[in-house]
Assembly symmetry: C2
Homo-oligomer: 597 residues x 2
């Protein structure tokens, strides 16, 4: 039976020892977010996720959501509503939202920590509150004052939830193709008509109203992505004064039968002249969509991290308990009938790969969240702008790498169980199935990779990368005389130099042939992720050594960092070779040559 | 909706153009297996698998097997029995078995081709006939004459099926720990008592009798793996004269709920003093087990290949049909509202990776099967022995690489569908779930890797590797002046030299520290698999060029080979670096340091 304990010790290490969250929060004016309060929040989040959410994970998978065709209603798995009510009562939905909308105004960084615990405990459940964040962001940024007044309070309080209605049956990546239309009607309202698919939490009974943020085209819309507008369309109509009226003409037409996240309602939403209001300027919906997406993308990265953590915990327990064969170098537990799996080098390889990707990935993610705080709260406009550039560059790396690694981590965790991992009762196969969505939704890995190499690198002359490399160099200089770090800093610097050169080479080739960007994209993103993690592992060793923690903790960080540098970072060699090969090996084969199908 | 067309053209290319099957079969005395007959077998196998088995794949997944607790009976999904009856009537179960047992005496190579088609069409169904092969092998090799007379005919005819009962709840890899015991009773019979788990096709109603090959310990058994004996235990008792008697005391206690292969019955089998006969010598069951296992391991590799092929076919179709965005270098299909996915370099990367691993992997597998034929039928004892050495060395490579690649291939195929891949109705997520068993059963990838580097390399002073490298060198010499091959042969030779050196280095380090074998094992196996595929891609180009096939076929092989050398083979760089890092980075962290769990 799968269990979960929030990794509070490693989270605190990341927050306090590596990222210096105490000083950061103080500097950003988060007077409330002192260590005592943050620790209390962490403890309570751990209690809630371990005892309320984690026990519902399996029932969520086994029973899933159900759909009533007659009414269009969707019922989440048993226990989900009670847990949601407790989550709302605890004030968790608004943890990081602005106090003027009823939020608690805590740093985004703390929200990232909470999200990890929620997603470890119950990823499918976590999708119900998660989507509200994007809706809140879009309304905060682009909503009229009355829209903020009316919609933000219940969304922040969690008494309503939100959705993002983007995808249609014939278009996901290419939203310029959407067909949903918005016709002006009386009182500045619009009638929205069309079908949206893959709408997470599109319909459910956890709260009385659901606020849909919907992309649609106005009658005079220019063709393509420049003709998209954003509308707010509630399940129950809402007047400008906040009065909730009758049911709107939006209805769930079906829920999808999916490989995993069975407890998450993935809805087909039919808008049949549903009343809505324009959010922001006409035809400027794509900007608003990116505001929603960026928030969601970091969150999906954390989903990958959370699943990896839980799968690892269970694989580690099994590797310590399961007795099978002896160590090749002689019995390690001679009093037992066989040694536990953990003595086997190849099992240790699988465990250490998970550990290195999880603990390093956690810092990659926490750092990105901390940059959101800096970008919002710093008193220095230059620092705000730099943080914005850096987090916008890190977002595709964090989303894609943490989710790709969750595929690998849940694979390795299951593999540690041997054939037992394939059996439902152990819970490991659910993590592998749940993880599989994370590299798909909110933009596939391929889309993240194009975002990184195109919009976030080529289009900015590598602005994000330059800032990151400068951070690395600052760190390296700080520790130039530190003998304990030399073994990490030298290869990190070499890898960073290679990264800069590689980037230049790709951009140069792309100037002559735009296919070069696409050809390099995924390998370039993964290469980047591994170098980013090398930095965080070097910083982990430095932070551990500088801390008051026990020697065993420091040794474990150093040993894991050594493993990472010796046996994971070399994957960059393969990615670099693939990038260096350029577009020709991908583009030479004619479309017809791929096969007779 | 997922479809399947047997890849007859590529199978014929592999058989005839690359492996020279016509001449080989003639030389080995397979007079019947001329081209006309082999072609007819291929066509009929394609028809059967495409039209009978493939349509049952989805229902097999959705309905699965059912278990009746009151009777212990297991019912396979609807249609499975009718398909099995047709398979038996067509004589397919005995295609490669010896004529004296009622088989058709066709080459094992042809059996490998049939297995690929069956597994593409319906992997779960394929598990019912598959396990009989191991039982037949064990009885052929170690059975007494009367056992052969009584059991082999119905197993070969497919009127009975067989199982391999090895695993117990507390032991899978380490069979020395088994508790099932065998007590001598009257007439040279034994009473078998114990519980076996993960028994594929352990119980079902496709045939009236099931022949279990069971590992158990005699009362005087020495401890550990040297005390294991093999018994044949039929579901209905069978006398020495072949008379079938009453129901034996063996019963299915449950079926497992698994991530995939829902149509395959994975049974808990309870033996409660069931009557059986000793097969072979007392305490020599482990040898017999390896005979069963080796046969099954090549078969599981083919399962990975078959799943990859089907997933690829569907991904390719989708990538050609789905219109989304435009090529970065300008519209490629300007008459359509958007370009199909296949114009995107990153989609082509995913497709080409599948294509290269599938077509190359097919040759790796077919070659191994052809060596079974040489090992059995060659008139030259030296050639027989060499083929035996080579296939025994290739078996873990084929099993582990083809199954690991099936994880990657079904991942990439699903990824081509974006979010739609995660939805059950498209069929892609089933392939990913089904593939997940293949790296686990018949020995995990870790176990295959230890087999390769330990028993098949260290213990033989690299006998298999040397034979393979000699084959590569022969091929390279033959084509020394061939300008079309130079771009492949030079890096292939360099990689082979590196491989030899790497092997020596590992064995040398292992002499001082046995953990080095385990530490290198999985990276070494994958490294080996990629070099083996480089050889088959070079040979594919040579064979295509030497053939009468259309220029487009030759170009497609060359372009795919270029892709493989440029963008897949460099993975060896990462594996080599991991191997070179040695055991220390894996062994340094104390067991307690992995985490608090």
């Amino acid at each position: 039976m799968s269990t979960y304990k929030a990794p509070l010790d490693d989270l605190r290490f990341g927050l306090y020892d590596v990222l210096g969250a105490e000083a950061l929060f103080a500097r950003l004016g988060h007077a409330d977010a002192n260590r005592e309060l943050v620790d209390a929040v962490l403890d309570e989040a751990a209690r809630f996720t371990e005892t309320v959410l984690a026990p519902l994970n399996r029932v969520g998978d086994e029973i899933g959501c159900s759909y009533d065709k007659a009414t269009g209603n969707v019922t989440p798995p048993p226990g989900f509503k009670q847990a949601f009510d407790q989550f709302v009562e605890g004030g968790w939905t608004g943890l990081t939202n602005a106090p003027e909308h009823g939020g608690q105004g805590m740093p985004a960084l703390l929200g990232g920590v909470l999200t990890e615990m929620v997603d470890s405990a119950n990823l499918a459940w976590g999708n119900f509150p998660m989507l509200s964040h994007g809706a809140v962001k879009a309304l905060e940024t682009y909503g009229e004052d009355w829209q903020k007044d009316v919609f933000l309070k219940p969304l922040v309080a969690g008494t309503w939830t939100g959705t993002m209605c983007l995808t249609e049956p014939h278009c996901g990546t290419d939203l310029g193709l959407i067909k949903t239309r918005a016709e002006p009607i009386a009182d500045g309202k619009y009638a929205i008509t069309g079908t949206k698919i893959f709408i997470t939490a599109g319909e459910h009974d956890l709260v009385p109203n659901i606020v849909h943020l919907v992309l649609a085209k106005l009658p005079d819309a220019p063709p393509g992505a420049k003709g998209i507008s954003l509308f707010v369309v509630p399940k129950f109509k809402v007047a400008r004064d906040g009065t909730v009226g009758e049911r709107n003409a939006v209805r769930c037409g079906a829920i999808e039968h999916k490989m995993g996240i069975h407890g998450s309602a993935t809805c087909v939403m039919n808008f049949d002249g549903a009343e809505g209001y324009l959010v922001g300027q006409p035809h400027k919906g794509l900007q608003a969509m990116f505001v929603m997406m960026n928030s969601a993308r970091l969150g999906v990265g954390v989903q990958g991290l959370g699943l990896s953590e839980r799968a690892y915990q269970n694989a580690l327990r099994y590797a310590r308990e399961r007795l099978q064969s002896r160590s090749l170098s002689g019995p390690k537990y001679p009093d037992k009938p066989a040694d536990p799996l953990i003595v086997q080098p190849d099992v240790r390889r699988m465990l250490l790969t998970q550990k290195a990707l999880i603990e390093g990935g956690r810092l990659l993610s926490l750092h990105a969240y901390s940059l959101l705080d800096v970008a919002e709260k710093s008193s220095d406009a230059g620092e705000r702008a730099q943080a914005e550039t850096l987090v916008s560059w890190l977002t595709p790396i964090s989303k894609a790498c943490l989710t790709e690694w969750s595929i690998e981590n849940t694979y390795n965790a299951l593999q540690c169980f041997g054939g037992h991992g394939y059996i439902h009762e152990h819970g490991m196969e659910q993590y592998a199935r749940d993880a599989r969505i994370t590299t798909l939704y909110e933009g596939t890995t391929g889309i993240q990779s194009l975002d990184l190499i195109g919009r976030k690198t080529a289009a900015t002359q590598g602005a994000g990368l330059k800032l990151f490399l400068a951070d690395v160099e600052t760190f390296a200089k700080q520790h130039e005389g530190d003998a304990a770090l030399a073994e990490f800093i030298a290869p990190l610097r070499a890898k960073c130099a290679e990264w800069g050169k590689l980037t230049q080479d790709v951009l140069q080739r792309a100037a002559a042939n735009p296919e070069e960007l696409g050809a390099a994209s995924t390998d370039y993103l993964l290469y980047s992720g591994y170098v980013v993690l090398a930095y965080w592992w070097a910083r982990s060793v430095a932070a551990a050594n500088a801390s008051q923690r026990p020697q065993a903790f420091k040794d474990a960080k150093r040993d894991t960092a050594r493993f990472y540098f010796a046996r994971v970072l070399p994957r960059t060699l393969a990615h670099k070779a693939a990038i260096d090969a350029g577009a020709d090996p991908l583009m030479a084969l004619p479309d017809a040559g791929f096969g007779p199908q």
